[in-house]
């Protein structure tokens, strides 16, 4: 690992900071964040183009450009997901932390403690990686929702080129959801899930940082998290 300007973890320390989020984790976080923001904005415009251009059609390409931006961001999101999916398997133990292994009792216990912490302000065990609740929320609202959006999105993208590459890869999604219209409806409705997630995500990171003074927000820039004795480290495979 790189050397640090400040040596905050001297030998025998009972607290300090350590590298947790590796570069691919941080990179995919930000690519995903910016891509989803842009995708939501352009997507809402595509669904209901509030502005109409004036003049002759040959002078304008508004809808075409907005769709183009949407598709470009979709590619960024796709490759960001591929990289993050790969890193789930090859990254450090924190890249897998919190993932809902629902057959494990300790995952459920950690989930319960975390819920209790937010509801009753009862400080539970501190996890250095993602806790169970965070893992569950990322698994459903980023992973699950993201793959739903990628699946339905690229299926609709493939419609302009029947029989093409994306049609072969994602074309089956359209009959699965009951046709082209239903696929659009699901894609559009599900996009709001990201808004809900965004609100929760923003609140939780602010709450955590302000309430516990743990510098949580800076960890997605620097990759380092603060720790003290008694914090739960992650399992080698998952936490």
């Amino acid at each position: 690992m790189p050397t640090y300007a400040l040596k905050l973890t001297p030998r025998g320390a009972r607290f300090g900071h350590r590298p947790v989020w590796e570069i691919p984790v941080r990179l995919t976080h930000w690519v995903t964040a910016f891509a989803i923001t842009a995708l939501f904005g352009t997507g809402m415009f595509i669904s209901w183009p509030v502005v109409s251009s004036q003049g002759e059609p040959f002078q304008n390409f508004l809808m075409g450009r907005v769709r183009e931006v949407h598709f470009i961001c979709a590619y960024f999101l796709l490759f960001s997901f591929i990289l993050r999916g790969y890193w789930f398997f090859v990254g450090n133990k924190y890249s897998r932390s919190g993932v809902p292994l629902i057959w494990r009792k300790d995952w459920w216990r950690a989930l319960w403690h975390q819920v209790l912490e937010y509801v009753a302000t009862k400080r539970g065990p501190v996890t250095i990686g993602h806790n169970s609740l965070a893992g569950l929320s990322y698994f459903l609202f980023v992973g699950g929702l993201g793959f739903l959006m990628i699946g339905t999105g690229f299926a609709m993208y493939s419609e302009t080129n029947p029989g093409g590459f994306w049609d072969k890869l994602f074309g089956w999604v359209i009959p699965l959801f009951g046709g082209s219209y239903r696929t659009r409806l699901i894609h559009h409705t599900a996009a709001w899930g990201f808004v809900i997630f965004f609100l929760f995500h923003m609140y939780i990171i602010l709450f955590d940082s302000v309430r516990w003074h743990n510098g949580l927000i800076s960890s997605i820039f620097s990759g380092d998290k603060f720790w003290e004795d008694g914090d739960l480290d992650s399992d080698d495979w998952v936490s």
Binding site: S52, E56, L199
Partner: protein, 360 residues
């Protein structure tokens, strides 16, 4: 003992059609099927040698709009199809025979041409209460369909009823109407959706089956790709207005007069696979969008249940909630915001007045 019926050319000769007219007809037919001129000899040979296919045309729960469309076909005209290319032996609407006579014809064809005849189905079958909501000649259509399908070579499902279910299959579907593919699962089925399908598409599909003696190339939902391979949107003459971002906002605005895109008026062109934008209707005169009205997506599955026809993306796919996706999204976002605020307020008060939970 199966009987071999005469070829199309034999029949045409009997009707006094000369060779030149026959070849002319073949060239036109080839073009209508979307094939290159190089395929003309194949078509000629097929019509000369292949026996005419006996067709049994059943009518279930339907409105006969498919038949109405079919008999208004322009190329090749329905008369040619019915009288020359296929041997339409049974069709409740078009046949002269009545009563027990026609049922006898149906059974005779089924016996004589076992495994050779084509079954065309217009409409679908109600499955609830033993199929009693549609009976033909004292028997339920469900039974007739199953019985006739057993020895059929293939099935052509005419229209959205037979292909997807259409209006009788829309929620709440009181008679349990199901499309042909849900009832007959062991036969090749060509779905020709539309309410009705374009006449030239119907004749084109039949001509293709006869000429090549096999079913046309089908897509994932069993539709012939040559007619249902692309969306109306991708071939729409108003597409430049869509890409430019110029939309009709109300039915009488400037954009409507200028012929701008009908996307915001609920046009289903972007989600509908059909040939309307290219082949058009009534001998190529026009099609809905050409007449200033959005597409209603009649050839798509569940099109009756896909929200009001004049609204874009309305009605979210959650039963019991009659709302637009955006309204639901915004409501959830507001609820989330309120919840967050309440939590923040609660935590602030607790922290100020209670012991520090970290040390408690």
């Amino acid at each position: 003992m199966p009987v071999r019926s005469p070829s199309t050319y034999d029949i045409l000769r009997d009707h006094g059609v000369d060779r030149r007219t026959f070849l002319d007809y073949c060239v036109k037919l080839t073009a209508c099927m979307g094939l290159t001129a190089a395929a003309t000899p194949t078509v000629v040979k097929a019509l000369e040698t292949k026996p005419r296919i006996p067709v049994l045309w059943l009518h279930g729960l339907e409105c006969t709009c498919c038949s109405e469309s079919f008999i208004r076909s322009a190329h090749p005209i329905a008369q040619d199809i019915i009288l020359n290319m296929v041997s339409l032996d049974y069709d409740e609407t078009l046949q002269a025979a009545a009563g027990e006579q026609c049922e006898e014809i149906r059974r005779k064809v089924m016996k004589d041409y076992k495994g050779q005849y084509l079954l065309a189905v217009e409409g679908n079958a109600p499955t609830k209460d033993g199929g009693m909501y549609c009976t033909v000649g004292g028997n339920s259509f469900l039974n007739i369909l199953k019985e006739t399908a057993v020895d059929a070579k293939a099935i052509v499902a005419w229209g959205s009823c037979a292909s997807h279910g259409c209006v009788q299959n829309a929620k709440p579907n009181p008679t349990g109407a199901e499309p042909v593919k849900k009832i007959i699962t062991d036969k090749p089925i060509v779905n020709v959706p539309g309410c009705p399908p374009i006449a030239d598409v119907m004749t084109g599909v039949l001509a293709n089956i006869l000429t090549f003696d096999r079913l046309p190339e089908l897509d994932r939902v069993g539709r012939p790709t040559m007619f249902y391979g692309q969306r109306i949107h991708d071939k729409c003459y108003r597409r430049p207005f869509f890409d430019a971002g110029q939309f009709v906002e109300t039915w009488d605005d400037e954009g409507a007069r200028k012929g701008w895109c009908l996307y915001k008026m609920g046009c289903r062109g972007p989600s509908t696979y059909n040939s309307c934008a290219t082949m058009k209707w009534n001998d190529g005169v026009s099609f809905p969008i050409g007449s200033g009205h959005g597409c209603i997506g009649c050839s798509e599955a569940n099109f009756w249940d896909n929200g009001p026809l004049y609204e874009r993306l309305s009605g979210i796919p959650v039963p019991g909630i009659d709302s637009t996706p955006d309204a639901v999204g915004k409501t959830l976002a507001v609820i989330t915001g309120v919840g967050i605020t309440a939590h923040a307020a609660y935590q602030t008060i607790r922290t100020k007045h209670g012991p520090d939970p970290k040390n408690s």
